[in-house]
C-alpha cells in the first residue's frame, strides 16, 4: 500500500492541554524528504501586563469554536498560495493558562529557510488580528479583557492586508 496517499495530518488544533514542539515538528516533516527547513514560533504567557508592574497571575483564553478552526484553515490556505511551503501547522490553547505556559505554536516546513521564516511570520501576524480568540488576564486588580493592539494591525498591513482589528472593523 506504499503508493496510497498519506492521510493528511491535521493542520489546526485548538485545545486546552499543552503541546510539544518536537513532536509537532516531527509530524510536520514526516514522510517528506523534500523538506529542507522548518521555522516555528511559540507564544507564551507573560507575567506582566503591557510594561506595567501589575503582575499577571493567570490568563483565560476564550474562542469561537468552529470559526476559529475555519479562519485559521483559511489563513494556511492563503500562506500556501503566497509562499513556497510544503506544510504548516497551528496549535492554539484555550482555557486557563499560567505565566510561562505555552499559548500558540505556528510551524512551517519548506524546501529552503526564507519561505519558511516568511510564512511563519505571516501566519502569526494574520492569526493575531483575524482569529477569534480573546484573552482575559487576572492581576491584583482583578480580571480584565486584554485590549487589541494597533501595532498588530500594522504588522498584518506589511503583508498588504488591512486589518482594522484594534479599531473594530465596523460590524
Amino acid at each position: 500500500m506504499a503508493d496510497m496517499p498519506q492521510p493528511q495530518a491535521a493542520r489546526v488544533s485548538i485545545h486546552s492541554h499543552d503541546f510539544d514542539l518536537g513532536a509537532e515538528v516531527a509530524t510536520l516533516r514526516a514522510g517528506d524528504a523534500g523538506v529542507g527547513a522548518v521555522a516555528s514560533f511559540i507564544g507564551t504567557v507573560r507575567d506582566r501586563h503591557g510594561g506595567a508592574a501589575a503582575e499577571v497571575s493567570a490568563m483565560e483564553l476564550e474562542h469561537y469554536p468552529g470559526m476559529t478552526e475555519k479562519s485559521i484553515e483559511a489563513m494556511i490556505d492563503e500562506a500556501i498560495a503566497r509562499f513556497d511551503i510544503r506544510a504548516a501547522r497551528v496549535v492554539h490553547r484555550v482555557g486557563l493558562l499560567m505565566p510561562g505556559d505555552q499559548i500558540v505554536l505556528v510551524a512551517v516546513a519548506s524546501a529552503h529557510r526564507g519561505q519558511a521564516f516568511q510564512a511563519c511570520e505571516f501566519l502569526m501576524d494574520y492569526l493575531k488580528t483575524q482569529a477569534p480568540f480573546w484573552k482575559k488576564e487576572t492581576t491584583a486588580d482583578g480580571a480584565h479583557w486584554v485590549d487589541a493592539r494597533v501595532a498588530d494591525d500594522a504588522a498584518l498591513a506589511r503583508w498588504g492586508i488591512q486589518a482594522d482589528n484594534a479599531t473594530g472593523r465596523p460590524a
Binding site: 479583557w145 472593523r169 460590524a171
Partner: protein
C-alpha cells in the same frame, strides 16, 4: 426571518452567550446591529456605535454591509486578542 446571534468575551458577559432575533429579509450586519441597539438599554450600551466591535456571518468576519441570509449564525465580539 430568524437569525441566531452569538456573543463572545466582554459582549457575552454583558448580553449572554446567544439569542434568536427576528430580522427583516435582506438585512445587513449593520442593520442587525442597529436593531439590537434599539432592543434594550443593555444592548444599546454593549453594542454602541462608538465601540470597537467586530462581527461575523456564518463564521466569516464581516462588516456593516455583509448580507445576513435566512437562518444565519451571526456573532458580535470585541477585537480579537489571541496568539
Amino acid at each position: 426571518m430568524k437569525v441566531q446571534v452569538r456573543y463572545f468575551a466582554s459582549l457575552r458577559e454583558a448580553l449572554g452567550p446567544h439569542e434568536t432575533v427576528d430580522l427583516a429579509a435582506g438585512s445587513s450586519l449593520g442593520a442587525l446591529r442597529n436593531q439590537l441597539i434599539a432592543s434594550s438599554p443593555r444592548h444599546a450600551e454593549a453594542l454602541a456605535r462608538g465601540r470597537a466591535l467586530r462581527g461575523a456571518v456564518n463564521q466569516v468576519m464581516g462588516d456593516d454591509s455583509s448580507p445576513v441570509p435566512e437562518g444565519a449564525e451571526v456573532a458580535f465580539f470585541p477585537p480579537v486578542t489571541g496568539g
